[in-house]
Amino acid sequence: MTASSLRRSPALAVISMVLVALWVILAAFPFIWTLWGSFKVQGDFFSRADWMNALTGPLTVKQTGASITGQGYFGAWIESGFWRNVMNTGIVVTCTVVISLTLGTLGGYALARSGFRYAFWILMIALVFRAMPHITLVSGYLMPFFQWNLWGHLPTAIIVLVAINQPFTLWMLHSFFLNIPKDLDESAMVDGCTRFQAFRHVIMPVMWPGVITTGLFSFLLAYNDFAVTAMLLTQDNQTMVPRIASFLGSVQQEGNVMFAVAAVVSATAPLFVLILFFQRQIVSGLTAGAVKG
């Protein structure tokens, strides 16, 4: 919008300012609160008497001698072995992102360059698949996986997540590939490249921004998944999110809630860093699909 159309009455400016400020508090406060509270004992974070206790932490001082304690983190990471779940998440997420990007770039490129009717149909079917609730698919996997002894292993969860990721990855990469002029690969093929060589040496080097953006969203899908990892993995192979859910099953013991709180903060930290570094890519990725319709 041009500057002249942005000029407005001061009252309106104040109102919109207040609205935005309110929203930012609404969005950020729960996380800051939980981050701060994770360094207190349960009696302070869940204080019926006075919410100020969570800030100052009188019980934390009484129980541990300092106003800040790492008990929750120690309990979660060391005592309950949360580090193992963190490693599992690392393995699952990395493999899922790498494999889905490999499959997705190949498929997305083909869909963007093929003018035939079936390319459109594959995209439409992918859209329908995108809408499937993940848990309905999981209920389809469970029995065969039990029968074939595939249940419980990390590779199974990885390949399932890759497949669930594909519809979205295809759509997104397809719209990025459409932005790259056709002349580029066609001139490479005139110069004697095969289709694959043109894809590999000419198109991929200019596709990196699109691949990174799509990779971010694949990462988020795999990282945030609960339905698949909770149902398909054994206790030993569990990733972070289902593990946090199972912390809650045994919460009644004093202090265990703080394990869950510490685990939640630990699991949020990487996402925080992710936004910090990739804010622009995330924003452009969210809008890439939209602008294309």
Partner: protein
């Protein structure tokens, strides 16, 4: 691109989708037509000093062998679909006959597990989707009016609720509205009611889940609309101003029409995502007052005795729901596509 090359490029991706999305749907349909074997009963005659008695016992060995041999269970046709846990046709018709008002009938119907879950799922989709659109647009307009320097940090914090794992996001809010948490305790003080608990009342639980849904999804609408606002044609706005349009009229007749395609996109995404609402119910431990279709599948699958047939039947019904939800979009796209080709 020749068909052959196309096939080779798409093959890995397509086979992953066929194996792990299309076949599971087939598997769900097959499973939903079967139920677990009944236990094998044997009649054993035990004779004691006072005569013989016939006793019926469960033959665990034979049961296990039968289940091993036919893991799918026995064929049940549409039996699972019409039983009490799903469409409950018998219960519905009984309720229809015995109740005299529509309200009473609905009250009975909504006590049946499937309809209860369906009601919440639809209510969640219907309430959260429009609120997300409105709130997202409001924030986008607000941020767009901010000085450029403040926009970056605002977007940063706005992204948090959306990026964060749904289960974790709902837990973070859940701990705050806990009776001992900061919001929960604060509300008890505010309304001077020490028994006030957001978890105890179904209405408040629903409201809490709706609030979570809006909080979680509003950033998505905001970002999309905000990007759209950057491309609003300046000349049109100025022309509208010269023609005497006030600020509201400019938003109503220039900005909103420009954002319309984006609103359609956001609505579509929101319908798909809200229809599968699941994690918040686990996070808020709200299953007593609110269950969704996804949640009842999950609870069927995770109990001590996994009810594959029952979960599969609910899954099929859910998939049909998704198909109905998407049908208008697909039809429209299909018509657009044909028009473009013609």
């Amino acid at each position: 691109m020749p068909h052959r090359t196309f096939l080779w490029f798409i093959l890995p991706s397509l086979s992953a989708m066929i194996l792990f999305i299309a076949l599971p749907i087939v598997s769900v349909v097959i499973q939903s037509l079967h139920v677990e074997h009944e236990q094998v009963l044997v009649t054993v005659e035990t004779c004691g000093p006072f005569g013989c008695t016939n006793e019926t016992r469960v033959d665990t060995e034979a049961t296990a062998a039968l289940r091993e041999a036919q893991p799918l269970g026995r064929f049940n046709g549409l039996g699972t679909y019409v039983n009490r846990a799903h469409l409950a046709t018998a219960e519905l018709s009984a309720a229809w006959r015995t109740t005299d008002s529509l309200g009473a009938f609905l009250g009975q119907a909504l006590n049946l597990p499937f309809y209860k879950a369906l009601a919440f799922t639809l209510a969640y989709t219907a309430v959260v989707t429009p609120l997300v659109l409105v709130l997202g647009l409001a924030i986008a307009l607000g941020v767009n009016a901010l000085p450029r320097l403040l926009r970056g940090p605002t977007i940063f914090f706005s992204l948090l609720p959306m990026i964060v794992t749904p289960l974790i996001g709902s837990l973070v809010l859940f701990w705050m509205v806990d009776a001992n948490g900061v919001i929960g305790a604060g509300m008890q003080r505010l309304f001077d009611d020490p028994d006030l608990s957001l978890k105890a009342s179904p209405a408040l639980t629903w409201a809490m889940l709706f609030v979570y849904g809006v909080w979680h999804s509003a950033p998505f609408a905001f970002i999309v609309f905000y990007a759209g606002l950057q491309t609003v044609p300046g000349e049109t706005l100025e022309a509208a101003m010269i023609d005497g349009a006030n600020r509201w009229e400019r938003v109503r007749y220039v900005v909103i029409p420009h954002l319309m395609p984006l609103a359609v996109f956001v609505t579509l995404m929101q319908l798909m995502d809200n229809f599968r609402v699941f994690e918040p119910i686990v996070g808020f431990q709200a299953q007593a007052s609110a269950t969704s279709l996804s949640y009842i599948i999950y609870s069927d699958l995770r109990g001590d005795t996994q009810q594959f047939g029952s979960a599969a039947a609910t899954s099929v019904l859910t998939i049909i729901g998704v198909a109905i939800l998407l049908a208008p979009v697909l039809l429209r796209t299909w018509r657009d596509f044909n028009r473009k080709r013609a």
